[in-house]
C-alpha cells in the first residue's frame, strides 16, 4: 500500500485530505509543521508527500529543499499545495524539484486523487 505523507498546518484541511485518501486506500501520515513533517518523512519514507507552502516556522519551500537534498527522500514525489496567490512560487517549486503545484481552493479532491494515483501507479499495492 502506498504511503502518503500530508504536511499541512491547517487542521480541517489536513483532516479532509486524510479522510479522502484513507478512503482511497492509501496509508496516510500527517504532520502539522514542516519540521515535524521532515522527521516523519525521514523515519517513514513515504511514497508521496502533500506539502503545504504557507506554514509557520519552516515553510513548505524549505521543507522541499531539505527533502530533495536528502539522499533517502530525494526521489519522493512531492505535490505542493497552497492557497497563496503567488505563482512565482510555482517556479521556485519547479526549481527545487517539486513535482506539482496546486492551488487548494481551485482543486477538487477528486482531481487531486487522480493525480496522486497517477504518480503512484508504479507502487505496488499491498
Amino acid at each position: 500500500m502506498a504511503k502518503v505523507l500530508i504536511i499541512e498546518d491547517e487542521t480541517p484541511l489536513r483532516e479532509a485530505l486524510t479522510l479522502k485518501l484513507k478512503r482511497e486506500k492509501f496509508e496516510v501520515l500527517g504532520a502539522k509543521s514542516g519540521a515535524e513533517g521532515l522527521e516523519v518523512a525521514k523515519a517513514q519514507k513515504p511514497n508521496l508527500i502533500l506539502l503545504d507552502i504557507m506554514m509557520p516556522g519552516m515553510n513548505g519551500l524549505d521543507v522541499l529543499k531539505e527533502i530533495k537534498s536528502n539522499a533517502g527522500l530525494m526521489n519522493t514525489v512531492v505535490i505542493m499545495l497552497t492557497n497563496l496567490p503567488e505563482e512565482s512560487a510555482k517556479e521556485k517549486v519547479k526549481e527545487l524539484g517539486g513535482n506539482e503545484y496546486l492551488v487548494k481552493s481551485n482543486t477538487p479532491l477528486e482531481e487531486l486523487v487522480v493525480k496522486i494515483k497517477k504518480y503512484l501507479a508504479n507502487v505496488p499495492e499491498e
Binding site: 491547517e10 480541517p12 484541511l13 479532509a16 485530505l17 479522510l19 479522502k20 478512503r23 504557507m54 492557497n83 497563496l84 496567490p85 503567488e86 505563482e87 512565482s88 510555482k90 492551488v103 487548494k104 481552493s105 481551485n106 477538487p108 479532491l109 477528486e110
Partner: protein, 778 residues
C-alpha cells in the same frame, strides 16, 4: 601742364633741335670746307714757292755755269795751273771782279784750284776754310747751290761750278751771292693771312735745321736754329723728307700750325708753307659765333612766335575751359564767344549747344528733384511714423523680455521647488539642468552632474524581486528622444545613488523640443518611489495574506462538501444532494470571487506578469471550448467554432489567453438562454488576430453598455435572470487585452445577442515583468 605751356615747350624743343642740327651740319660742312680751302691754298702756295725755288736754283746754276765756261777765265786757270805764274792770278782776280760786278747780288767771287784752294778772290779770305769740305769736293764735279753758313741772320748762297778744259778738271768758280730771291720767298706772305709764312730751311753742320733768313715773327737779327730733336717742328719734318699736308706740327714759336712741307732734293732744303691753326680756325670760330648769334636770334624769334601760336590755340581753349567752369559753378548764362572758323570755333558752337542741352536737362532735373524731394519728405514722415511704431514694438518686446525673464525666474523657482527630481539632458545625453531634488535623491553634487553624460553618473537599472539581475534600464530616456513621445520608466526601475544604494524610482521622460519642433533633449522627472514600492509591497502582501486566509476556509468547505456529495460518508437523498450542491455552488462562487479579486488587485497594482510563449491559439481555443461544453450542454446551447486555416503561432502568455477565452466563452454561455447558440471565430487580419465570441443571448442594454467594463458591474437585465457572475470578468479581460497591446470591443442588442471582439497583435504580447501571474478564474 597747361596747353599753352605744352605747345610752347614742344615748339621750343623742336626748333631747338632743328637749330642744333642745322648748326651742327653747318659747322661740319662749312667749316670743313673752310679747312679744305685753307689746305688747298696752302698746298697751292707751297707749289708756287717750290717752283720759285727750283727756278731760282736753276738760274743760279746756269749763271755760275756760264761763268765757269768763260774761255778767258778758263784759259787763265789753265795757265795758272801749269805755270803758277802770278800774272795769271792777277788776271783771274780782275776777271773775278768782273763777275762780281756783273750781278748786283754777287757779294764775292772766288777761283779755286784743283785742290779746292783759293787762287784768288774778290776779297782776301780763304773761302775754302769757311765752307764744308764735303761741298768743296762736290764742287769739283758738279754745279752746286747751297747756303753759306755764316753768323748772319739772313743767309747768303754759294754757287759753285767746276772749270774744266777738254774734260779735265781745272778749278772751281765759287760765287757768294745774296739769297735774295730765296729770302723773298720767305717774306712773301701773300695768301697766308696774318700768321702764315713760308720757311726755307737747311741742315747745318750740326745736323740741326737753320732758316735761310729770320722768319716772320722772329727778331730780324737773330738766326733761327731748330735742334734736330724737335721732331714735331714742321721745318724738321720737312728736312726729314716728310712731304705733304701736316695738320699737327708746330713752328719755331711752338704754335700749332697747318703746314705743307716739301723737301727740295737738289739742294737738301726743306720748304714749309705754314699757317697758325688758330688763324685757320678763326673763320670757323667766327662762323660758329655767327651761327650762335643767328641761332639765338632764331630761338628768340621762335619763342615769341610760339607764344603767339600757343596763345592762338590755348586762348580759346582757356575760354572754353573757364566757360565750362563757370557753368559748372552754376552760371548757366555765361556766353562763350569764340568766332574763329576753325575747329575751335566749331567746338565752341558745340559747347554752346551742349550748354543749352544741359540747361534744359538741368531744368528737368530740377523738376524731378523737386518731385523726389516731395516724395522723400512724404516718405520721411511715413518712416517717422514707422519708427514710432517700431519703438512701440520695441517697448513691447522689452516688456515681453522682462516678462519672459520673470517667467524664466518663476520657472526656475518652480523648478527649484518641485518636489520631484527634474533633470534635463541635451541631444547628446549630457545633463544641462538639474533641480535640488536630483541632488537629494542621487547624492551627487551639481558639479558632478551638470555637463556629464547622464548615464555616467545616474545609473538606472532594472531590479527584479528575488533576483540579482541588474540590467541597465534607461531606454525610457533614449526612446523619449528618438520617438519624440513621453516615455514612462518601467516598473522596478532603480537608481543607484552615490553610495551605491538602490533607490526605487518612478516617473517619466519627455522629449524637449525647440521652436521648430526638433527634439533637442529630454526632460526626466523621477521621484523616490521607495515608499510607494514599500506600500505596494505591503499591499501585495496584504492581498496575499488576505486571500490566503479567505481561501483556507473556502477550501475546507469545498473539500468536505465534495466528499459529502460524492457519498463518501453515506448515501444522500435527492433533496440532501440538492442542498449540498447549493452549498458547494455558493462556495465555488466565493472562491471565484476571491480569485477574481486577486487578479483585480494584481491588475491594479500592475504586478501581473506576461510571459509569452509560442502558442497555437487554435488548439488552446479548442481546449477551452471543450471545458465550457459541459455547461453549454446543460443549457442545450450549440457552440460553433470557426478558425482561419492560416493562423500562425502567436507569441502570447497562455494563461492570459486562457483567461480571455474562458471569460468570453463563459459569459456567452451564461448569458444565453437555453437552446441558444455561441460562435467562436478566430481570424487573421493584418496586423492582428481577431477573436470573436458571438452569442444569441440577452444582450447588454444600450444605457448600460458604457459601464460594462467596470469592476463588479453587472447589467440589470442579467441580474434578474438566474445567472451568476462576479462582475469582474470583463474588467480583467480588458486589462489583459490592453496590456497585451490589443483591443476589445463589442456590439450588443438587448434580447438579440452580443458579439465580443478581441484584437491581439500578430507580433504577440509584450513580455512583462511582474511578480504574479493571474489566477485561474472560473
Amino acid at each position: 601742364m597747361k596747353i599753352r605751356n605744352k605747345i610752347l615747350l614742344y615748339f621750343l624743343i623742336i626748333t631747338f633741335c632743328s637749330v642744333l642740327i642745322i648748326i651742327a651740319d653747318s659747322f661740319y660742312n662749312v667749316d670743313s670746307n673752310i679747312v679744305k680751302n685753307a689746305e688747298s691754298k696752302l698746298e697751292a702756295i707751297a707749289t708756287i714757292q717750290e717752283n720759285r725755288i727750283d727756278s731760282e736754283i736753276n738760274n743760279h746754276k746756269i749763271q755760275v755755269g756760264l761763268v765757269a765756261n768763260r774761255t778767258s777765265l778758263t784759259d787763265d786757270v789753265v795757265n795758272f795751273n801749269t805755270s803758277k805764274d802770278s800774272k795769271y792770278r792777277d788776271s783771274l782776280k780782275i776777271r773775278a771782279e768782273d763777275v762780281k760786278g756783273s750781278v748786283t747780288d754777287y757779294k764775292a767771287v772766288y777761283i779755286l784750284d784743283q785742290n779746292g784752294k783759293t787762287i784768288t778772290g774778290t776779297d782776301s779770305q780763304k773761302i775754302e776754310e769757311k765752307i764744308d769740305p764735303q761741298k768743296i769736293i762736290f764742287a769739283k764735279e758738279k754745279k752746286q747751290v747751297f747756303i753759306f753758313e755764316s753768323e748772319n741772320a739772313a743767309k747768303d748762297m754759294v754757287l759753285t761750278a767746276p772749270i774744266s778744259r777738254d774734260g779735265k778738271f781745272q778749278g772751281i768758280v765759287l760765287i757768294v751771292t745774296e739769297a735774295g730771291e730765296i729770302q723773298n720767298i720767305m717774306t712773301d706772305y701773300s695768301g697766308l693771312g696774318e700768321t702764315g709764312e713760308t720757311i726755307v730751311a737747311f741742315i747745318d753742320q750740326n745736323g740741326d735745321a737753320e732758316y735761310v733768313r729770320p722768319p716772320r715773327f722772329a727778331n730780324q737779327d737773330s738766326q733761327i736754329t731748330i735742334p734736330k730733336e724737335q721732331t714735331n717742328v714742321a721745318a724738321i719734318r720737312s728736312l726729314n723728307k716728310e712731304e705733304g699736308l701736316i695738320k699737327n706740327s708746330v713752328d719755331y714759336r711752338d704754335h700749332p700750325v697747318y703746314a705743307v712741307t716739301e723737301y727740295i732734293d737738289d739742294v737738301d732744303w726743306g720748304l714749309v708753307v705754314k699757317i697758325d691753326k688758330a688763324e685757320l680756325y678763326r673763320p670757323i670760330f667766327s662762323h660758329a659765333i655767327q651761327l650762335g648769334v643767328l641761332g639765338s636770334v632764331m630761338i628768340v624769334l621762335i619763342v615769341i612766335v610760339s607764344f603767339f601760336l600757343a596763345n592762338i590755340i590755348a586762348k580759346p581753349i582757356e575760354i572754353l575751359r573757364s566757360g565750362a567752369e563757370e557753368i559748372t559753378k552754376g552760371n548757366l548764362n555765361y556766353n562763350i564767344s569764340i568766332d574763329s572758323k576753325d575747329e575751335i570755333g566749331a567746338l565752341s558752337q558745340s559747347f554752346k549747344t551742349m550748354m543749352q542741352a544741359i540747361i534744359d536737362s538741368r531744368a528737368e532735373v530740377d523738376k524731378k528733384v523737386q518731385n523726389q524731394t516731395n516724395e522723400i519728405v512724404a516718405k520721411q514722415e511715413y518712416l517717422h511714423d514707422q519708427q514710432k511704431a517700431v519703438l512701440n514694438i520695441l517697448e513691447d518686446v522689452e516688456e515681453e523680455r522682462n516678462l519672459t525673464a520673470q517667467e524664466k525666474d518663476k520657472v526656475e523657482t518652480i523648478l527649484q521647488s518641485i518636489g520631484d527630481a527634474v533633470f534635463v539632458v541635451d541631444y547628446d545625453l549630457k545633463i544641462i539642468l538639474i533641480n535640488p531634488v536630483v541632488i537629494d535623491i542621487s547624492g551627487f553634487s551639481a558639479a558632478e552632474l551638470v555637463g556629464k553624460k547622464y548615464s555616467d553618473v545616474l545609473r538606472f537599472i532594472y531590479e527584479v524581486e528575488n533576483s540579482k539581475i541588474e540590467k541597465v534600464n534607461d531606454k525610457f530616456i533614449k526612446e523619449a528622444i528618438e520617438t519624440g513621445q513621453v516615455q514612462e520608466m518601467s516598473n522596478h526601475t532603480v537608481l543607484i545613488d552615490k553610495e551605491g544604494k538602490h533607490i526605487p524610482v518612478a516617473d517619466s521622460a519627455a522629449p524637449l523640443k525647440n521652436k521648430q519642433g526638433d527634439i533637442v533633449g529630454c526632460v526626466v522627472v523621477f521621484r523616490d518611489a521607495s515608499k510607494e514600492y514599500a506600500i505596494d509591497k505591503a499591499k501585495t502582501e496584504f492581498v496575499s495574506l488576505a486571500s490566503h486566509q479567505l481561501r483556507t476556509p473556502l477550501s475546507a468547505i469545498n473539500w468536505y462538501a465534495e466528499m459529502i456529495i460524492n457519498g463518501d460518508v453515506g448515501k444522500l437523498t435527492e433533496e440532501q444532494t440538492k442542498y449540498m450542491q447549493e452549498i458547494y455552488k455558493g462556495n465555488q462562487r466565493m472562491i471565484n470571487l476571491v480569485n477574481a479579486l486577486l487578479d483585480v488587485s494584481r491588475i491594479e497594482l500592475g504586478t501581473f506578469a506576461i510571459s509569452p510563449e509560442k502558442i497555437n491559439i487554435v488548439s488552446l481555443a479548442r481546449d477551452l471550448v471543450k471545458e465550457i461544453k459541459l455547461l453549454a450542454d446543460q443549457k442545450k446551447i450549440l457552440i460553433n467554432e470557426s478558425y482561419d486555416k492560416s493562423l500562425p503561432e502567436i507569441s502570447a502568455d497562455p494563461k492570459l489567453l486562457q483567461i480571455i477565452f474562458q471569460n468570453l466563452l463563459s459569459n456567452a454561455v451564461k448569458y444565453t438562454p437555453n437552446k441558444g447558440r455561441v460562435t467562436l471565430t478566430i481570424t487573421k487580419k493584418e496586423p492582428n488576430i481577431i477573436i470573436e465570441v458571438k452569442d444569441t443571448g440577452y444582450g447588454i442594454p444600450k444605457a448600460q453598455q458604457g459601464r460594462i467594463y467596470e469592476k463588479l458591474f453587472r447589467a440589470d437585465n442579467v441580474r434578474v435572470k438566474d445567472t451568476e457572475g462576479t462582475g469582474l470578468g470583463l474588467y480583467i479581460v480588458k486589462a489583459i487585452v490592453e496590456q497585451a497591446n490589443g483591443k476589445i470591443s463589442f456590439i450588443s442588442k438587448e434580447n438579440m445577442g452580443t458579439t465580443f471582439r478581441v484584437e491581439i497583435p500578430l507580433k504577440g504580447m509584450p513580455k512583462k515583468q511582474g511578480s504574479k501571474a493571474l489566477e485561474d478564474i472560473k
